[in-house]
Symmetry: C2
Subunit: 358 residues, 2 copies
Amino acid sequence: MPTYNFSAGPAVMPAAVVQQIQAELPSFQGSGMSIMEISHRSDLFDQVINDAERDLRDLMQIPDNYRVLFFQGGGTLQFTAAPLNLATGHHHIGLLNSGHWAERAAAEARRVGTQVDILGTSAANHFTALPTLDQPVTADLDYVHVTTNNTIEGTLLTQLPATGNVPLVADMSSNFLGHQYNVTDFGMIFAGAQKNLGPAGLTIVIVRDDLIGHAQDLPSMLDYQLFADKRSMFNTPPVFAIYAAGLVLKWLKAQGGLAAMATRNREKAALLYDFLDQSTLFTNPVKPSDRSTMNVPFVTGNAATDAQVIAGAADRGLLNLKGHRLVGGMRASLYNAMPKAGVQALVDYLAAFEAHHA
Amino acid sequence: MPTYNFSAGPAVMPAAVVQQIQAELPSFQGSGMSIMEISHRSDLFDQVINDAERDLRDLMQIPDNYRVLFFQGGGTLQFTAAPLNLATGHHHIGLLNSGHWAERAAAEARRVGTQVDILGTSAANHFTALPTLDQPVTADLDYVHVTTNNTIEGTLLTQLPATGNVPLVADMSSNFLGHQYNVTDFGMIFAGAQKNLGPAGLTIVIVRDDLIGHAQDLPSMLDYQLFADKRSMFNTPPVFAIYAAGLVLKWLKAQGGLAAMATRNREKAALLYDFLDQSTLFTNPVKPSDRSTMNVPFVTGNAATDAQVIAGAADRGLLNLKGHRLVGGMRASLYNAMPKAGVQALVDYLAAFEAHHA
């Protein structure tokens, strides 16, 4: 039985990449050493990290005045690092509150002494739509933080807020490389790898170089300028995770890059949303124009029925459909590596469940 | 040709562990998902992290009043986290300066506003011996920081300094699980995984529970109490690295545990030191009583000859013998996973080189 893994993260990776990692695990590039065993100061790893950066730059068309940094610690560490590095002028940022991860970002920024103004929130409708910018973006804001895809609530930001000269900082963790953005619309983008890029334990930071280097005496592991100067190797980077991410980037190029991927993702998501919208049993609560192509939450409205749906799906190899505890029900994550056949199998199963349930 | 990897880290892993990872990479525990793809909230991963903690507790005989935490960011992030969490009483610590990594620890502690007193240093003899405690350990020190093994300088701390009621905090990165210590002699132990434990991207923190929970409003990714409360899963942990480390821990138990390993490491190191001490070409500069069983630096005194040694070794599958740039020459790292046959092959090669060179 084929299995399809709908986990929100760590998540499905391209099968071809998993096979390649397996094949070359005992001896990387004929070196007699596993990729897990090679020094980050070796020529072998130099090529791995250089290729990864080059391929990411190609895929996202990252201009030369942006640095690409490889961090550990997930998006959460960047909730601390971003204000420490970028909010040095006024220690004051704006934030659009689109749900759980935006609230986490606000909390971490405040912990390091940054004033956080909520410029808009969709809390009143339980984040089933994106917030609008309700407050002016004033010049005393060092940046405005947005979450481009809300993994739990299932919303996707396609129309960026107009922030004028105030840089936009984007937590792109759950739709990085799954949707096309212009990098130049952002001062900084960051993303945990464990959705669309590879195994957990790696975080990408893409930052405009004029925005960094203004902070004094930061802890080294939070210092963007130091990471830029040391090519992300001030200390030992997560070698295996960077290697695996590099293979995913090569796979993405072979698939036709981000435009092809975004189109495929829209088609995959439409298959599921179209089913949900005509269903009399299942509901997706999100405003249609704000729906995510990556994470699709849905419910029956009855917790016992939801549990039956999830258990029956698992029996058929449709894995990890349990919704996040904050919203309940089901959630299907349809990242780049989820084939259309997986979404079709899910829709077929849900339709059969509904017919049987009726 | 067999290869032997003498890298200081990332470093050689047990061949049996690499084989097991390879074998089960496409489908972990028959789940149809790679270990790289499974959710950290799954029962599958729960067992992985619980086993890893249990096996580590067994191997090191960690008492119940110590927490075991799984971090990212290497030892360097702990240079920041340790003072933020533990130096909350007086913002004042002592440190024994045994070399490069001790100096890094001092610098990072100072960056977060901690006063660091150097209680002893062996800088005058280029850290070829361990420092002695030259200053009194006063009650206004929150803790005393030591580096139990100096990866670059090749020294090993076996006699812990007498610090009375002031807790000892040990950076054990390069001899974690390679030498036996009593955990109860320390307030805290931390170690990057990429020497004796597994792939880079994981750091272990072992901390006495009465020492944590006193800091206010720390960034979450630096908060020991939060990590303890959330079982190291406040955000997504490095799933693959924890899994790989868990396999190494099981391997260590099968090898007879830390007592057997420490004995084997002493034997392996003696093989190399005995050769170096009788050689008229090669020299290890470290005071005999302070020599590391993990990292053995040695030189010929001539940079061109050193380069010949390293190149000739690589031709024979003896890899990554280049010394650290701070000390030059050669360095052989003999971590747990380095078989005795590898050390013998190195000694045979060095002897042949010397005979030919004479």
